[in-house]
C-alpha cells in the first residue's frame, strides 16, 4: 500500500466527506428537509455553519443529508451499471462467434453514442410521481453501462489473445480455474477504476437531472439543493452560499474520487 503524501491526503478528504455524509445525519437536531425550521437567508456564521436557505433550511445539515443520498444513489447506479457492463462486455470480448461479437459491439457502441441526457430526462419526467433515489439510480443505469462495457470488451479481448491463455487451455486448465488465477488481478483493477469512474458519472448525471428539476421530490440530493437555489434566484438575491457550498462539496467529492481511481489504476499494476 502506498503511503505517500498525496495518497494520504486523498484518503483523508474522503474520510471527512464520508463522515459528513453518513455519520453526521444521525446527529441532526431537526429534519433538515423541512422548510421553515430556521431563519431564512442567513449567511454562514457560527450558528449556521453553511448558512440557511430561502425556505428556512439549515444548509449544513441539509448538505450532509443530501450528500448521503447522492453518494448512495451513485453507488447503486455504479453497481447496477457495472454488472450490466461486465456481462455484455465479457460476452462481446470472449465469444468465438464473430456475428455475436460484431452485433454486440455495434449495440454497445450505439448506446455510447446516443445522447443519454434527453432520454433520461423524458424518463424522469414520465415517472416523476414515483421518483426515489432507487428509481433514479435504475434509470441512470440504463445508460451508465455503455462506456465501461467497451473497456471490459477490450480488456477481455486482450486477455483472450494472450499466449498463456492458449497454453493454459492446451495444458488442460479448466476455464474457471484459469479465470480465477490468471485474469483476476486485471479484472479487479479494472473493476476498481471503473466503479469509481461510474460513481463520478452517476453523481454528475444525477446532479444534471436534478438541476433540470427532475429529482426526487421528498428526498434531497446535492443536485436538488442547487435546483431549488436556482428556482429561488439565490445568486441574484445575494444568497450565494446556497449554490456555492453544494458545488464546492460536489467538486471536492468528484475530484477526490477521480484521484483515487487514478491511484487504484497504478497500484494494482499489471504483472
Amino acid at each position: 500500500m502506498k503511503t505517500s503524501n498525496p495518497f494520504k491526503a486523498i484518503i483523508g478528504v474522503l474520510i471527512v466527506l464520508l463522515t459528513f455524509a453518513f455519520i453526521l445525519p444521525y446527529f441532526a437536531p431537526y429534519d433538515p428537509r423541512r422548510w421553515a425550521t430556521v431563519p431564512r437567508d442567513q449567511p454562514p456564521s457560527g450558528t449556521y455553519r453553511f448558512g440557511t436557505t430561502t425556505v428556512g433550511q439549515d444548509l449544513f445539515w441539509l448538505s450532509s443529508y443530501a450528500l448521503r443520498n447522492s453518494i448512495t444513489l451513485g453507488v447503486l447506479t455504479a453497481f447496477v451499471s457495472i454488472s450490466i457492463a461486465f456481462l455484455l462486455g465479457a460476452i462481446a470480448g470472449f465469444t468465438r462467434s464473430s456475428i455475436l461479437r460484431h452485433t454486440l459491439t455495434l449495440f454497445i457502441d450505439s448506446f455510447c453514442l446516443i445522447p443519454g441526457l434527453p432520454v433520461l430526462i423524458v424518463l424522469a419526467y414520465s415517472w416523476r410521481k414515483y421518483l426515489s433515489p432507487v428509481l433514479i439510480a435504475l434509470i441512470l443505469s440504463i445508460f451508465g453501462w455503455a462506456w465501461p462495457s467497451r473497456s471490459v470488451r477490450s480488456l477481455m479481448l486482450s486477455l483472450r489473445e494472450r499466449p498463456f491463455t492458449y497454453t493454459a487451455l492446451l495444458s488442460g486448465f479448466g476455464m474457471i480455474r484459469m479465470f480465477f488465477y490468471e485474469y483476476l488481478p486485471y479484472i479487479i483493477k479494472w473493476l476498481a477504476v471503473s466503479f469509481l469512474g461510474l460513481l463520478n458519472w452517476a453523481i454528475g448525471m444525477e446532479t444534471t437531472i436534478a438541476v433540470f428539476g427532475l429529482s426526487s421530490l421528498e428526498e434531497a440530493t446535492m443536485g436538488s439543493i442547487i435546483f431549488w437555489a436556482m428556482q429561488y434566484q439565490a445568486v441574484l438575491r445575494g444568497i450565494w452560499w446556497w449554490i456555492v457550498i453544494p458545488i464546492l462539496i460536489l467538486m471536492l467529492l468528484i475530484i477526490t474520487l477521480y484521484e483515487l481511481s487514478k491511484i487504484a489504476g497504478e497500484l494494482i499494476g499489471a504483472r
Binding site: 455510447c112 446516443i114 438541476v211 467538486m251
Partner: protein
Amino acid sequence: MFARAFVGRVMKGLELRSFKLLAHVISRLSFFLLTVWVGLTATFIVSRATPIDPSVILVSRLLALGSHLRPEEILAMRQQILELYGLDKPVYEQYLSFIRGVLSGNLGPSFAFFPTPTIDLIRNSISWTVLLLGFSTVLSWIIGNVIGVLAAVFSRSRMSKALEWIAMVLYPVPYVILAILIFLFFSLVIPMYRGVGGAGMLMPSLSVSYIVEVLTRLSIPALSIILGSSASWFLSMKALALSVKEEDFVSYAIIRGLGRKVVTKYVMRHSLLPQITSLALSLGYIFNGALVTEYIFAYPGLGRLLYQAITNSDYNLMLGILSYSIMGVALAAFVLDLIYPLIDPRIRYGG
C-alpha cells in the same frame, strides 16, 4: 467467391480504388442506421411505457392556461391526441407510425404552444444548438489535442506537468457544475454578463454586426464547454502521443536527424486518427453537456427548449427533442466517420 466478384464489379462501377474504403463506409453506415433505430425504439418505449396519459396532460395544460373548453372540445382534443399517439391501435402499428412521423418531420402539436407543430419549435432552436456545439467542440478538440501533443513531445518540461495537473482537476467535473461555476464567475466576480445567446434584438442577417453579436453572446457558454472538453482531449492525447513517441517510425525520424518540429508533426498526424474516431463516438456525451450548458445560460437552443418543455409539461415537445437529438448526433458522427478516410491513407488507398 461470388460475393468477391460482385463487390469487385460494384467498386469498378463506383471507381473506388480501395476495398478498405468501401468496407469502412458500409460499416459506418450500418452503425448509423443501427444507432438511429436503437435510439428511436428507445424513445418509443419510453413514450409508451409511462404511467402518464399524454391526452390528460394536454387537457389539464390547456385548462391551466385558463382556456374555457366545452366538454365536446375536450373530447375532440383527446381524440386528436389518441390518433396522434395511436393509442387505440396495436403496438407495432403505433411503432411504425411513430417512426414514420419522426422521419417525415411530423410529430404533432406542441402541448404548451398548441397547436404549433413541435417541429417548428425544434427547427428554431436546433440551429443555435448546432452553432454552440460545433463551435465549442471544434475549438476544444483542436486546443486539447495540439497542447496534448506538445505536452507529450516536451514531456519533461514543468509546463507539461503543470498543464496535466490543471487538466486533471477540470476533467472529472461534470458539465453542469462547470457551467454553474462559469455562470457564477461572470455574474458575481466579473459582471460581463450582458445577456447570453442568440442575438438579442437583432434580426438575422449576414452583417458583421450581427455575427459579432452572435459570437459575443456565444462566448461564455462556449467557454464553459471548452474548459471541460479541452481537458479531456488534452489528457487522452498526451497519453496517446506518449505511446506513439515510442513507435519505430518516430525513432527513425529522430535518428535521421529531423528535429523536434518534424517529429512533433509525425506524432500529431498519427495520434489524430484515433482521436477522430474517439470524437465521433463522444458526440452524444458532448451533446449532453451542451444541453445543460444552454439551460444554465438561457441560451436559445435545444437545452433551454427542453427545460421549457419540462416546466410546461409539454410532453410531445420533449419526445420531439429526444428523437431529433438522437438522429442529429448519429448523423454528425456518421459525417465524421466519412471524413476519417480523408486523413488516414491506409483506408483511403488500402488494398
